[in-house]
Amino acid sequence: METTQSATATQPAGTSAARDGQHIILLESVHKWFGKLHVLRGINLAIRPGEVVVVAGPSGSGKSTMIRCINRLERHNRGRVVVDGIELSDDMRNVDAVRSEVGMVFQSFNLFPHLTALQNVGLAPLQVRRWPRTKAERAAMELLERVGIPEKAHAYPGQLSGGQQQRVAIARALAMNPKIMLFDEPTSALDPEMIQEVLDVMLGLAREHGMTMIVVTHEMGFAREVANRMVFMDEGVIVEEGPPEHFFTNPQHERTKLFLSKILHQ
């Protein structure tokens, strides 16, 4: 298939050399269809522990679908997805194991509106890890402090601003102590003045905790500052990837150039 070939061709030499278990996330020619719609058309991606990868691309290019395949909110139809040595398959044990190793932050927060911020964060440790309530609450409180809103612990999501909600959502995703965090456009539903507070939390995660992160975002300032690698997707394939310095100053592909010119001129 033509697209697959071009995707393989653009793959940097460095990644294919290192398929020996030192990758925490490995996607091998992953395909995904929604009905007849071919959304992922052979994705190859390998990520090392501690790496921060920023994914960009036009709307509908399959960015969300790709990262949702990593924690199996979507099933891939072909290819392999290996997360921390566990291959995602129909084995139910694997799915459960992976879900608690991968945290996810959504564009629209998806906080549980009937629970307080503290309960939102503490729910998974309490129910999945079966921690005692006091322990779960203490851990949740620590996380809320880490994202900078301990004073809102007993507020309901409806009483929080967008930025505060997203920070609670990050704390919730961290509650299971994941090795990997996935962010799907975490700031694009926020008012401009709240974007920075969320980015700061993410920055802290990457810098101070060495978290492995895949971030779908169009915040190019953030990408320049934090990303180890930029990935550009279009029409279900990875068109181009590389370190941000190269990516921004010297894009190789027409589609990348076009996209960058659009996004940087806003």
Binding site: R19, L26, R80, E87, S89, D90, D91, M92
Partner: protein, 339 residues
């Protein structure tokens, strides 16, 4: 080439296999239950020495229906008047026709009444508003069957009997005449055998009048709430927007609010129509010969209750499916129609 070998998933941990097996087990259990029921029924039939027999439907019914209507002649497939010499099946078809008559009339009346009460419910006049609310609450919060009993036993049957001591109630001259024998429109009152009797015009039996009145009033309470909700749902912002474009209050109501309210209102209204049709089976309580009552008579005459009630159940199911299919068609139209 990959460093991590492709793991083989044992089937007892494979989600898809488990889901598949689970469904197979479910279907097997279900089939087993049905089969068990069938066997038990057969044994019980053997024990009680009965057999299912559908032939009785073509035997002579031999009973009158309280309101004579048409039926379909099952030999010629023509419409005809029902007579006691017709078969059981034809008696039930007559009942079905009665059900349809009651439903159509009831739906028309309920809609008119519901519209009036719903508008009253929206009135700025406090007294009218509260009155409409009391109407809605009263009829929604009491059982339809008790309301039907009330209309039939406590209202219709307590009316004057038309003798000179108890002359019939008349409205508009002789146009509407009301006795405990029924309701007559547009006939002339004449005395015969010491009683005042209506000649000609449209005459409705007591059971029919009580049934239609009861169904219409009950359903109108629900319709009123639907109408009120529909108009409230569009009116505020839309009304202001329309007024700011320079439309008058009347124009805004007619051109902007009502068409939109209609869209909101029609689906739940359709459900109420369906409910009214199903509820007409409560006529069994007051003995008006619609579908269920006719079937009940057939059942008690032929001692073929399981067969009869199975047919009736399927008949109502078909009726409901036809009506809801029709409603879905309208709904689809509404979605497509330009705003």
């Amino acid at each position: 080439m990959a460093a991590i070998p492709r793991a083989r998933v044992p089937f007892w941990r494979n989600v898809r296999t488990l889901e598949f097996l689970g469904q197979i087990v479910f279907i097997v259990l279900l089939a087993g239950a049905l089969w068990g029921g069938r066997v038990a029924l057969q044994e019980s039939f053997l024990r009680q020495n009965i057999r299912l027999d559908w032939g009785f439907f073509r035997q002579t019914a031999g009973f009158e229906l309280t309101a004579l209507t048409w039926t379909i002649d099952l030999d010629t497939w023509r419409l005809k008047d029902y007579e006691p010499t017709d078969s059981h099946a034809e008696a039930m078809i007559a009942g079905l026709f009665n059900t349809i008559t009651v439903a159509l009339l009831g739906i028309a009346l309920a809609t008119i009444l519901g519209l009036l009460v719903g508008i009253g419910r929206l009135s700025r006049n406090w007294l009218l508003n509260r009155l409409a609310m009391a109407y809605v609450e009263l009829f929604r919060n009491t059982p339809l069957l008790v309301q039907l009993f009330f209309w039939y036993f406590a209202v219709m049957l307590q009316l004057p009997n038309g003798s000179p001591q108890q002359p019939p109630i008349r409205f508009f001259g002789d146009f509407i005449v009301l006795t405990n024998g029924g309701l007559a429109f547009g006939g002339t009152v004449a005395e015969r055998f010491g009683r005042l009797i209506v000649d000609g015009g449209v005459q409705l039996t007591t059971e029919f009048s009580a049934l239609v009145a009861g169904l219409a009033v009950y359903t109108s309470a629900f319709i009123a709430e639907i109408i009120r909700g529909g108009i409230l749902a569009v009116s505020r912002g839309q009304m202001e927007a329309a007024r700011s474009l320079g439309l008058t209050h009347g124009q805004a109501l007619r051109l902007i609010v009502l068409p939109q309210a209609l869209r909101i209102v029609i689906p739940p209204l359709g459900n109420q129509f369906l409910n009214l049709t199903k509820n007409s089976s409560l006529a069994l309580g007051i003995g008006y010969a619609e579908f269920l009552t006719a079937a009940n008579t057939v059942s008690s005459q032929s001692f073929r209750s399981l067969e009869t009630f199975t047919v009736v159940t399927l008949g109502y199911l078909a009726l409901s499916l036809i009506i809801s299919g029709f409603l879905n068609l309208i709904r689809a139209r509404l979605r497509l129609a330009p705003a």
